[in-house]
Subunit: 455 residues, 2 copies
C-alpha cells in the first residue's frame, strides 16, 4: 500500500475550493476576451535548446527537464531534449517568431496556463502555478497607447473578482533612465542603480542609501538623496499624478519621452473610464527584469499591502530577438493566479464557496426514478447544473449530502407531489420549503427562474 | 539565432483554430457541469512512487520523468522523484484516497487536463493531449444506475458539438464472462479470450478464429463460432436491443446479472430522453484494460467509422486499491479531445472559425481616439468582446486586419457620425454597412443586440 500524496510545492484543491478557483480563472479569461485578446495555448514542454537560449545560469537552475523512461536509460550526456516552461513569455516569443507570417499584427493574445519552477518549495511558493498573461505584440513598432489599455483590462479583472480595492501603480523606464542622465549616471551604472532601487521594498531606504554612496557606486550624498526623493513619489489622484509629473521639472530628451508617455497613459485611462482611485504613479517601481524598456506596472491590494504585487508587467522593445530578425515590440502583464488565490485564502478574503451544482433532485422512493430523471433533464434544458440522486435513501441523508457539497437547493417530487402537480423546493440555507406547480417540462422554466433567484 | 519550433507530437494551434478548440472544451465542461459533476484539477506531475504503483513495464516505458537541473547534475541512481501523469485515472485514484474523509460520496468529478505519453510521435498520435474525464465514485458500493447517466452526458456533449450523428455503443463484462462460462471457458482463459476478441477490429474474424482454435487456446470450432456470433450482435433500435438481449437465451448467474444491468441501462436512457438512434448494443466491445468489471462504452461517428472510438470508458470495481483499503467502485468515461479535434479537422468536419472578438472599433482619425475608447467600453459593458484600433490607419487596412482575424463586424464613428449621432457598422461577410443611432452609452444595448444578431 502506497501513501497517496502530492509533490510539495503544488496547489491541489477540494471540490468547493476548486469551484472558487475556477470562478477566478473564468473572470480572468472572460475579461481578457472582452478586450479583444484571443486565446493561445502552448505545449507544457519546449525543446530545451529553444527554451534556454536567453537565460543565464540563474534561470537554468530553476528549470525542470523532461525525459521519457527510454531516454533516461540511455543516459546520454548534455541537456535532455525537453524542459517545462518556466513562464509564458518565452513560449510567446517562440510562438510569434514561429508563426509570424500567419499572424495579424498587432497580435493580441491571452494565455492562461501553468508554469514550472524547480525552486525549493516553501509556504506560499509553488513549483507549479497558474500564470494569466495578456500581451500585445507589434511588428516593427507599437504605439504607446497600448500602455493604457493593459491597466484598463486589469482594472476590469480585479473589479469583477470583488477582492477589495486595489491600485495599479506604474513608472516608466525612460523617465527613470532620463532622470539618471540628469544626475550624470550613465551606461551600465544605470542598470546597477536600477537594480539597487528595486530593492527599496526589501532593504529599506537607509541600506540602499549606504550602498549608493558606498565604494561600488561612489555617488555623492546629494545624488543618492535625489534618487531616493524621486523614488518616494506617489500620486493620490489623477490631477495629483499630472501635478507630480510636472513638479519633476525638465530633463533630457529621454526623460521627456517617458514623462509625455505617462501623461498620455493617464489621459487614456480617464477616457476608458478607469476610476482614478485605481491607478497611481509610483516612481519606486523598477521591475528587476532587464528587458523592460518603457512603462512598468505593479498592482497591490489597498487593504493588504503585505501581499505585494498581485499583477506585474511592462513594455519591452523586442520580444523574440533570439528567434527572429523581425523587431517585435510589445507590452503585457501577468497575474500569478495560484499564488493570488492562496494569499487571498490565507488572508480570509475568499473561502470555499457554493457547489457548481445548482440543485439536487432527490429520490425518496424507487418508483420515482423515471420522474426524477425527466425532471432533472428538464431543468438542465433551462441551463441549470443538476445532480440526480439515483439511489433512494433517507431524505435527511440527501440533505446532508447536498449541504456538504454546498448545493443550495434540493428538489423533491414524490407520489404526493405528482398527484398535486407540484415539485417541492427546499432551500438548504434557510430551511424553507416551497411548493411550485410542476406537471412536466413546460413548467421547468418557472422552476429554473426560482432556483436562479430571479423569482 | 535559434530556429523557433515545438517538440514533435504536440498540437499547437493558430488563434482562429484555438477559438474552435476552446469552444469544444467549453461544451465539454459546461455539459459535464450541467449533470452535476464538480471540477477537479491535479498537478501535472505526481511522485513517481505514487504514479507507478500499479503499472507494468509497458506503461513505464511511456512515462515522462521530471528533474530539476539540480537533480539532473546529481545524477542519483533510481527513478527521478517526479513523473508526468499519463492519464487522469491514476491521479483521480490518488486524489480520492488522499482526500477520502473530506469528500462526499458518491463523488462526482470532471477533470479536463492534458496528459503525457513518451510515445514515438507519429501523425495523429500525440505525446501531449487533452483528456476530458467524468467519473462517479461510490464508497463500498455504487448502483448500476450510474451506468446509464454516463452515456446521457456523452449524448449531450456530442449533440452540442454538432459534429454529425454518433452512436454510443456498449457491452457488459459480466455478460461476456457469463457467456464464456456457458461455453466452459473459465479463469485466466477468460482474460485471454477477452483480449483476443478485443482485436477483432484490427485482425478480422478469420485471424481471430484461427487463434482461438489454435494451440494456445485449443477451443473447438463450434465454441469459436459461438464466440464470434456473439461478437457480431449489434442493435439498431431500443426495441431491437431488448430483443437481442432476450435472444441470447439463459445462462449463468453472472450472465443474467450482466443482461439485467444492460436492460435497466436501456430503460433509463429512455427516461433520460436520449434518442434511441444514439445508443446501441455492440457485443464485440471488450476494452482491453483489465480493470473494467461491468458496462463498457465506446462511441463512434456514424459517418466516420474509420476514426474509431472517440470516447470510451466503463465500470470498475475498485478504483484505488493501491492507496487505500476502502472499496471504491466507480464508472467513468473519457474524451481524448486533442485527437478528436485533429481527426475532425483532417476529415474536414471542422475548420478554423470566427474570432473570439465580436467587433473591431475602428480609428480613422487621431481626434476620434477618446470616442473610440468610450464606445468600446460601452459595448463591453453589454457583454461583447471588443478590440479597439489604437492607431489611425487606412480603413481598408483595418478591414483587412479584422477579416484576417475572423472578426465579423467593424464599428466606425468619425466626425460625421458624431455629428449625425450615429455609429456605422460594417458586416465584413456581406460587405453591408448600416448606420445606427448612437449618442453614448445609453444607446449601446441596441447596437450590441444588432451585433449579436438578435436585431
Amino acid at each position: 500500500m502506497i501513501k497517496p500524496r502530492t509533490a510539495s510545492g503544488t496547489l491541489e484543491l477540494l471540490p468547493r475550493e476548486q469551484v472558487v478557483f475556477q470562478r477566478l480563472l473564468d473572470i480572468v479569461r472572460d475579461t481578457y476576451a472582452s478586450f479583444g485578446f484571443m486565446p493561445l495555448e502552448t505545449p507544457v514542454f519546449e525543446l530545451s535548446e529553444v527554451l534556454l537560449t536567453k537565460t543565464g545560469g540563474e534561470t537554468e537552475r530553476q528549470v525542470y527537464f523532461v525525459q521519457s523512461s527510454g531516454a533516461l536509460e540511455k543516459n546520454e550526456p548534455g541537456l535532455p531534449e525537453l524542459a517545462l516552461r518556466f513562464d509564458l513569455t518565452v513560449p510567446l516569443a517562440r510562438y510569434v517568431a514561429e508563426h509570424e507570417h500567419d499572424l495579424a499584427f498587432p497580435f493580441r493574445r491571452y494565455q492562461i496556463q501553468r508554469v514550472y519552477r524547480g525552486e525549493r518549495a516553501q509556504k506560499g511558493r509553488f513549483r507549479e502555478f497558474y500564470q494569466c498573461d495578456i500581451d500585445v505584440i507589434g511588428k516593427d513598432s507599437l504605439s504607446t497607447r497600448y500602455d493604457a489599455e493593459i491597466p484598463a483590462v486589469i482594472n476590469a479583472v480585479f473589479e469583477r473578482m470583488q477582492i477589495g480595492e486595489f491600485t495599479i501603480q506604474f513608472n516608466h523606464r525612460k523617465l527613470l533612465r532620463g532622470f539618471f542622465e540628469t544626475l550624470g549616471i550613465e551606461g551600465t551604472q544605470q542598470d546597477a542603480v536600477l537594480r539597487e532601487l528595486d530593492k527599496l521594498d526589501k532593504r529599506g531606504e537607509a541600506a540602499v542609501r549606504d550602498t549608493l554612496v558606498g565604494e561600488g557606486f561612489g555617488l555623492s550624498a546629494d545624488t543618492a538623496e535625489r534618487l531616493l526623493a524621486f523614488s518616494r513619489v506617489r500620486s493620490v489622484s489623477h490631477e495629483d499624478a499630472l501635478a507630480k509629473l510636472a513638479a519633476l521639472g525638465e530633463g533630457t530628451a529621454m526623460f521627456k519621452e517617458g514623462r509625455d508617455a505617462l501623461r498620455n497613459t493617464l489621459e487614456q485611462l480617464k477616457s476608458l473610464g478607469v476610476p482614478e482611485s485605481r491607478y497611481a504613479l509610483n516612481l519606486s517601481i523598477a521591475r528587476g527584469l532587464d528587458y523592460y524598456t518603457g512603462i512598468v506596472y505593479e498592482t497591490t491590494l489597498d487593504a493588504h499591502p503585505g501581499i505585494g504585487s498581485i499583477c506585474s508587467g511592462g513594455r519591452y522593445d523586442n520580444l523574440a530577438s533570439s528567434y527572429t530578425k523581425s523587431k517585435l515590440p510589445g507590452v503585457g502583464i501577468s497575474i500569478g493566479l495560484s499564488r493570488l488565490y492562496w494569499q487571498l485564502r490565507e488572508a480570509g478574503i475568499i473561502e470555499a464557496g457554493a457547489s457548481s451544482v445548482d440543485v439536487l433532485v432527490a429520490l425518496m422512493d424507487e418508483a420515482d426514478l423515471e420522474d426524477a430523471l425527466s425532471l432533472s433533464q428538464s431543468l438542465r434544458a433551462q441551463g441549470l447544473n443538476v445532480e440526480t440522486q439515483l439511489e433512494a435513501r433517507k431524505l435527511a441523508k440527501q440533505f446532508q449530502y447536498a449541504d456538504k457539497l454546498g448545493i443550495p437547493y434540493v428538489a423533491m417530487r414524490g407520489g404526493s407531489e405528482r398527484e398535486a402537480g407540484q415539485v417541492t423546493i427546499k432551500n438548504l440555507k434557510t430551511g424553507a420549503q416551497t411548493a411550485m406547480p410542476y406537471n412536466g417540462a413546460q413548467d421547468a422554466a418557472a422552476v429554473a427562474r426560482y432556483l436562479k433567484g430571479d423569482a
